[in-house]
């Protein structure tokens, strides 16, 4: 499954988005999820937490998550604030993200 938010996510929208993704994972029995955040220009602590929760919950449901397309200025800001995105797989772009999922031995998207 591939998902890519295209609008600025305020908090309620972000939570809704998270819930929708997790529901879709159940519906589609997806084994992997690529979360493309290339359109997101500001990632603050709240959004980091939502992304972390998506990854954790998806893992529990048997789907591995790869976050792709993190903009350099966003990555830099996260590092400066002290976030490490520990436990979250990241890749530069969609192609690399899918490659990681394949390597993880869960090729069904």
């Amino acid at each position: 499954m591939i998902t890519s938010p295209q609008v600025a996510l305020h908090d309620k929208l972000a939570v809704q988005y998270k819930d929708d993704i997790l529901e879709r994972i159940i519906e589609t029995k997806a084994k992997g999820l690529v979360l493309d955040v290339s359109a997101i220009d500001v990632v603050d602590s709240f959004l980091v937490r939502q992304i972390g929760e998506i990854a954790t919950a998806a893992n529990i449901m048997g789907a591995q998550v790869v976050v792709v397309g993190l903009r350099p200025e966003v990555a830099m800001t996260l590092v400066e604030m002290g976030f490490t995105l520990k436990g979250i797989h990241t890749a530069r772009d969609l192609e690399k993200g899918i490659e990681i999922l394949h390597k993880a031995g869960k090729p069904q998207l």
């Binding site: 600025a8 908090d11 500001v42 603050d44 602590s45 800001t77 604030m81 002290g82």
Partner: protein, 134 residues
């Protein structure tokens, strides 16, 4: 070149947090900050505006371009009349981070900006002033 004026955003909903950071970013760009700094500033505003909304229910974000002889930059004041912060030292160490990220937001915005000043009084509210120089 600095045709931007002071802007105030009232924070009364979660959507206003986005409005505040979008405005801060636009003003930062107009002042001449590079893209990295625009993102740092927008992120810091997002953190502080959320704190105000989450803990006080509402607040104001005032964004002011600074253009003195020595320095050019941006000053942002985030003010609320919420419960205030009891132990500011602890909050700035991230010690309140379990309470949905108050400390993380304060500490994060402090790290992203050049100057950070907080005034808080229990029962009266909190005012955070942040600055960044081009």
């Amino acid at each position: 070149m600095m045709s931007v004026s002071m802007t105030t955003v009232e924070i009364t909903s979660e959507a206003d947090i986005v409005v505040a950071r979008v405005k801060a970013k636009a003003i930062a760009e107009a002042i001449g900050f590079n893209y990295m700094d625009q993102t740092r500033i927008a992120t810091a505003v997002s953190e502080l505006a959320r704190n105000a909304f989450q803990y006080a229910g509402k607040g104001t974000v005032t964004i002011t371009p600074v253009d003195s002889q020595e320095k050019r930059g941006i000053k942002i004041v985030v003010e609320d009349h919420g419960p205030g912060i009891k132990d500011i030292e602890l909050a700035l160490k991230g010690g309140y981070s379990t309470s949905r990220g108050l400390g993380m937001g304060l500490l994060g915005s402090k790290k992203l900006m050049d100057e950070f000043d907080i005034k808080t009084k229990v029962g009266e509210g909190t005012t955070v002033t942040i600055r960044k120089w081009v």
